[in-house]
């Protein structure tokens, strides 16, 4: 960041105010909230990949100590509506408990309510369910190509979505290009798997007609979905946003959990609590992430200039629609990455299978797409015998070409990709990295250099919904902030969503402090409940610096304008002569002539006779912010302005592999990062580091693997491997700032940074290491076992050949 800042608080290295409560164990997580007389839920799940529920015998379980109720899918389906889905697929209903047919192993079938969670679990074991196992399908290609086994018979096929977009003269560009290359890339099923599982307490008060919900959520339109499913007005749903969320990164949606608990609380008259255990979280929590197969074809010339691309992305969404199919839509807004590819054909296909339902995961589908793009760039270079860095430089959009419109219709706001790359290479030279790689190779190890140049679309609108479902007419995705100055002059700001570690209270305090020139530490930030909130879209799509930061900026600016107007009136001077400084207002022509902050508070709160005519008393302002560049539906030919800002990251890494073990080790990790103006450097660094760790997990370790029987075989942290401090290398971040023209401070998003490029960088480094053996892998995660076998087979083949 520049040494001389035009900001007072923005971009300065300030502490994150949320941290104080967390270091003392005083966060207020959903598990810490206990309402009197709460009863607990345990779940009975389907042991088959697909089965008809023939009979449920509850008698033994009902006789167990402490048991109050046992709920099945028939009762729940009769009393509630299916959960909302974004696609137009009415014959794929999704419900909290399986209704007649269970469609994946682990799907919830029965909910047991008891005095304690332990009693509920004891009783769950005594519920006897008679199942008739049904044929099942696990593989996306099989589900797509054959209707022999249908996950939802009434739907008529397994295809939820199959849309082809053609942007530009794809066929012409392919015909005109001398070189072509095809690549198949598989992104394995993984997710974010927060350390806090999902949890909810729902409490119905029949005397007030009010459902109070305390939940570990990061979910847009959460209250809408609860109210619709339970068939109660939103005026009877009060979601409490002042609940700390123990990590989410997209998946903390919990609609089915909350509908289940809300129904039970209304039915039974107790507060009902369901906190997932780890198995419930990993299997039936419906929180898996993308499992995507890419078929990519590119057309290019002998210089490696890529002109056109055809991509088919086939998503295995699991048994129900969830939010997942839309994750094929968001990448449309950065479908060519940082490159000047002129024309693109993109076919997005989502199929249902008998696996766990997915939900949104950090990047909303962009990280897998980036792997496909970046693996392709490497292979183009390899085919031509060109350097992989050079080919990226040749194809990248140049600084002077911004704002740049990509074929799919999205304008990239700003960027200086070559400058970021140059900065990274100046920090750690390519030659030194090559020398280090070659030194490993000389020692008999495999070693490779990986690059990834990726975009982080940020600012989160929901235009992908209308793109993939023409019945959806959503063209706004607002966020909001309210600022009050109390009668003694202190400032309170309100934000209207939960947070899961992104430091939004710090963001709001910093922005309002910047505008009002007040120490941010003096500003209280609170979260009213959903009935007291302004419209808010929640923290998804790397949007809060842009959207909540923007809303706070505009609300504070309105308040400042009001203060200046009151002061000018009271000073008897024209508005243009009034100058605001450090909370005071003075006459530009006579600085002694001024009103202090407390003078202005006095006037607004108590001395209406000194206010300008027709002005509302008090000091409060609010702003509901529309996404910058938002407000348009996709065009008829499928062009769309997706997110308003694009951050850029350039990964440059070195991986060594012990050929005997097949275990990759990341030896060096450099990332050039440009998210425009940084509001809080500590937060941005943390997001980037955490994203890289998460991306390393997706690239090398994490997979929700299934066996041929449709059983999830990664059901614990013994099998689903999260990176520990040993697996995450030292990372050096090289900062660059290209401000966005679309935001109040020039900021862009950074909530998904690191994760968007790390898997691609790791995959490219491993493949560079494997190249001397004449092998490659395009299937993530690249597990130690697979890699070891591949290397052994290649070495054996090589030795036999000699």
């Amino acid at each position: 960041m520049s040494a001389i800042s035009k900001f007072r608080y923005v971009s300065t290295d300030r502490r994150v105010r949320e941290d104080r409560r967390f270091v003392a164990g005083k966060g207020k997580f959903v598990g810490d909230i206990v309402l009197p007389n709460t009863k607990h839920v345990a779940l009975v799940t389907c042991p088959h990949a697909a089965a008809r529920i023939v009979a449920i015998d509850k008698s033994a379980a009902l006789a167990m100590p402490g048991v109050h109720y046992i709920l099945d899918g028939d009762e729940l389906a009769a009393a509630t509506l299916p959960l909302m889905t974004g696609l137009d697929t009415p014959n794929v209903p999704r419900r909290p408990l399986a209704h007649q047919i269970a469609r994946y192993s682990g799907e919830w079938v029965v909910a047991v309510v008891a005095d304690t969670r332990a009693q509920a679990e004891d009783a769950a074991e005594e519920v006897v369910i008679d199942y008739e196992p049904l044929p099942f399908v696990l593989d996306a290609e099989q589900a797509l190509e054959s209707n022999d086994i249908l996950v939802h018979e009434a739907h008529g096929s397994n295809v939820l979505l199959d849309k082809t977009f053609t942007w530009g003269e794809v066929d012409k560009d392919f015909a005109a290009s001398p070189r072509k290359l095809k690549l198949r890339v598989k992104w394995g099923r993984s997710s974010t798997v927060p350390i806090e599982t999902f949890g909810v307490t729902a409490s119905w008060d029949p005397w007030r007609d009010m459902l109070d919900v305390y939940a570990s959520i990061q979910m847009p339109r959460f209250n809408d979905q609860i109210g619709v499913a339970l068939k109660i007005p939103l005026t009877s749903v009060r979601v409490h946003y002042d609940v700390d969320v123990g990590g989410s990164y997209g998946v903390k949606r919990g609609i089915k959990h909350t509908v289940l608990c809300g129904y039970l609380s209304r039915r039974l008259g107790f507060p009902i609590r369901l906190i997932e255990d780890r198995l419930e979280n990993m299997r039936g929590g419906d929180a898996h992430g993308p499992e995507r197969l890419f078929d990519v074809e590119v057309a290019f010339d002998d210089n490696g200039i890529v002109r056109a691309m055809k991509m088919r992305a086939l998503e295995n969404v699991g048994a129900y629609a969830g939010r997942s199919p839309f994750q094929l839509g968001k990448p449309v807004g950065a479908i060519v990455g940082p490159y000047k590819i002129q024309s693109v054909q993109y076919r997005a296909v989502a199929v249902v299978t008998n696996k766990t339902t997915q939900d949104a995961v950090r990047g909303f589908g962009q990280a897998p797409t980036n792997v496909a793009l970046e693996r392709t760039m490497d292979e183009v270079a390899n085919l031509l015998g060109l350097d992989r860095l050079e080919i990226r430089r040749r194809n990248m959009i140049r600084h002077e070409e911004f704002p740049y419109v990509i074929p799919s219709g999205t304008t990239y706001d700003s960027g200086d990709y070559h400058a970021v790359v140059d900065k990274v290479m100046a920090h750690t030279s390519y030659e030194s990295m090559k020398a280090e790689r070659d030194a490993f190779r000389a020692k008999g190890l495999l070693a490779g250099i990986g690059f990834a140049a990726c975009l982080e679309p940020s600012g989160g609108n929901a235009t992908f919904e209308a793109l993939l479902n023409s019945k959806v007419q959503t063209s706004t995705y607002m966020d909001s902030c309210r600022v009050n100055v109390d009668g003694l002059g202190a400032i309170t700001a309100m934000m209207h969503t939960t947070s899961s570690g992104q430091g939004h209270e710090t963001l709001v305090g910093t922005v309002i402090g910047e505008v009002l020139q007040v120490d941010p530490e003096m500003i209280r930030v609170v979260r009213p409940d959903s009935l007291n909130s302004l419209p808010s879209g929640t923290p998804v799509g790397s949007r809060m610096a842009i959207m909540l930061g923007g809303a706070a900026f505009h609300a504070a600016t309105k308040l400042k304008t009001k203060l200046v107007t009151i002061a000018a009136h009271d000073l008897g001077i024209p508005l243009e002569r009034a100058v605001y400084e450090n909370g005071e207002v003075y006459d530009k022509t006579n600085p002694e002539h001024r009103r202090s902050w407390l003078d202005l508070v006095q006037i607004a709160w108590r001395s209406y006779h000194r206010m300008p005519a027709d002005m509302e008393p008090g000091l409060a302002a609010s702003h509901i912010m529309q996404v910058p560049t938002g407000g348009h539906l996709p065009t008829a030919d499928g062009k769309v302005q997706m997110y308003p800002c694009t951050s850029f990251e350039f990964h440059f890494i070195l991986v060594s592999i012990d050929p005997v073990l097949g275990r990759p080790e990341i030896v060096k990790y450099r990332i050039g990062h440009d998210c425009g103006t940084v509001i809080n450097p500590k937060i941005v660094r943390g997001m980037t580091m955490g994203g890289i760790a998460h991306g390393i997990g997706a690239a090398l370790y994490e997979e929700f693997a299934y066996n041929d029987d449709g059983q999830l075989i990664a059901q614990s942290f013994m099998d689903y491997l999260l990176p520990s401090s040993h697996e995450v290398p030292d990372v050096e971040i090289i900062h660059h700032v290209t401000p966005s023209p679309n935001t109040v401070f020039g900021q862009k998003g950074s909530g998904e940074s690191g994760y968007l490029g790390a898997p691609a960088a790791v995959a490219n480094a491993v493949n560079d290491a494997l190249r001397p053996l004449g092998i490659s892998t395009n299937r993530l995660p690249i597990k130690v076992s697979t890699l070891g076998d591949m290397i052994a087979a290649a070495q054996e083949k090589k030795s036999k050949g000699q």
Binding site: R15, R21, I195, G247
Partner: protein, 163 residues
């Protein structure tokens, strides 16, 4: 069954089922909610407490097994209401957390490490926290926090007998 535990320097008595984990006992019976349930099978470390000074997983132990031992939770290393230890302050200084869910455990691991080893290398810090999963930070700012805390503790004035 009735059990007596020494928690954070005070003897407490609880009536628990024999199968109650130490974690559930601390959270549900002792109202000490700083220890968190993460995986409840001993991998993630979010439930870490100090057991006779050693960092252990409270989800893998039954409460009755802790009878007669000294348990320290994050509440026990917090000097006072609103007052942070050097280690807690260092975590705030480097932003060694995001969502805060694994944080109390990380703070306790740091306490255990720095009592044994006031001058740890970076590798020793990485080793010490390797049994605790953080999904938010990628660990860098946690490692920085512990290194900073170690430096500050070494530079602090202390009574001669504790030096």
């Amino acid at each position: 069954m009735r059990i007596k535990l020494d928690i954070n320097g005070a003897e407490r008595e609880f009536d628990v089922e024999a199968r109650t984990t130490l974690l559930d006992c601390l959270r549900d019976h002792a109202a000490l909610t700083g220890a968190h349930a993460g995986c409840e099978h001993g991998v993630c470390g979010a439930c870490t407490v100090l057991f006779d000074g050693v960092a252990v997983r409270s989800c893998l132990m039954f409460a009755p097994q802790a009878e007669g031992s000294t348990i320290t939770t994050v509440e026990g290393v917090t000097p006072g209401p609103g007052e942070m230890s050097v280690i807690q302050d260092a975590f705030c200084e480097t932003h060694g957390m995001q969502c805060g869910y694994c944080t109390p455990a990380m703070v306790l691991v740091a306490h255990a490490l720095l009592i044994d080893n006031p001058n740890p290398t970076r590798e020793e810090i990485v080793d010490a926290i390797s049994g605790n999963i953080c999904r938010c930070t990628g660990y860098a700012q946690i490692i920085d926090a512990i290194a900073l805390a170690a430096e500050r503790r070494r530079g602090a004035n202390r009574p001669a007998e504790r030096a």
